[in-house]
Symmetry: C2
Subunit: 204 residues, 2 copies
Amino acid sequence: MRSARSLSPDRPIVADKRQAILRAAIRIFAHNGYFSSKVADIAREAGVADGTVYLYFKSKEEILHSIFDRSMEEAIADGRQRMEKISDPRERLRTIAHMHLDRLGANRDLAVVFQVELRGSTKFMEEFSAAGFAEYLKLIRSTFEDGQSAGVFRAELNAKVVAKILFGALDEMATNWILSKRRYKLAPMADQVLDIFLNGVTAK
Amino acid sequence: MRSARSLSPDRPIVADKRQAILRAAIRIFAHNGYFSSKVADIAREAGVADGTVYLYFKSKEEILHSIFDRSMEEAIADGRQRMEKISDPRERLRTIAHMHLDRLGANRDLAVVFQVELRGSTKFMEEFSAAGFAEYLKLIRSTFEDGQSAGVFRAELNAKVVAKILFGALDEMATNWILSKRRYKLAPMADQVLDIFLNGVTAK
DNA sequence: GGACACTGAATGAACAGCCACTCAGTTCCG
DNA sequence: CGGAACTGAGTGGCTGTTCATTCAGTGTCC
């Protein structure tokens, strides 16, 4: 190890602890719900003292925000990148849908936080909605509009509504998957949604 | 009025107070969120003392449950009744969708409770899901299956998934309507959803 | 090399505020 | 008068947040 840590001057192990706390919080929130989760539980799960949590986060609420921000940022960056290589609007929507369910399906705890905990108050909803969800809906919508311009999709449809429909359908798949006792793969549901959706919006 | 109340033997004004508390709770929950709502606030809004709330409800949580139970019961009874007069599966789904958004669109506070507050914890979600949502999904699903048998809808589609898609789309319309700053009518969105949905699932 | 001073990350006990729920007492009504 | 309905101040338990204290690691000076 030696003086390796002098490479990151001020905060040697910092990134790890922050990360550990976030990971712990996702698990705790998912299992107990945001409001029933105690900061002390998160600290224990992360292997740090209660006070340490407050060296990295201003409040319990900020932890929830950070979880959302990090994940959403990652997802959108990831998405934009994939979009660059695809030009067909139908394929683009297909990719978006798959990425959506892939991501949630890969981490059940995170999915619970996204599908349930983040929805639990208008206050949160408005904040989060303003931030990431809105942007995500816009991505779907503009992709759809491209398809309309290209004559692939029915021109008379309201793109904003169409975007909500696709999002809502995917969202319901995710929520149902979490609540279901049965264990099945989430990602493949995307194809069934797309089948109906694309069939419904494609210009003849 | 006089001795009219002796018609309901044991609890004269009971229904009124119970009703008042429920109504108050809907407003308070919608404005502050379930967890931030104080029982004292509900009591004040209902014009009763704190303790009175506990004469009618075992706990704060039971109030939330009652709101859900009453509304859902009413909605489903109402729905079944309307279904009797309609035989065409497409018309049935259209009616379900309209009733869904009509009901939520008619009472914003109740809509907030349903779309946001009831979704805020896996615990609630599981309980509620088990109860009413599941039954509602089943109603959609079996209506769709009738349509499949009749050759109206594509036979190769998984009815369970189709039901989730329709529900998810409607649900998203409602949630978006609540969160939106813009004021618009919710009910008409049903037609736009149905246009795409029916177009997507109809047998050619 | 080693003694000393310094730094700031980490700790966890203690605090302070909050609020669901209780219950002893009051009011109301027949 | 008696019982039922109602009241609302008080209580107990809980938990987010703070902060005095610790101490491993680092730099400085002789």
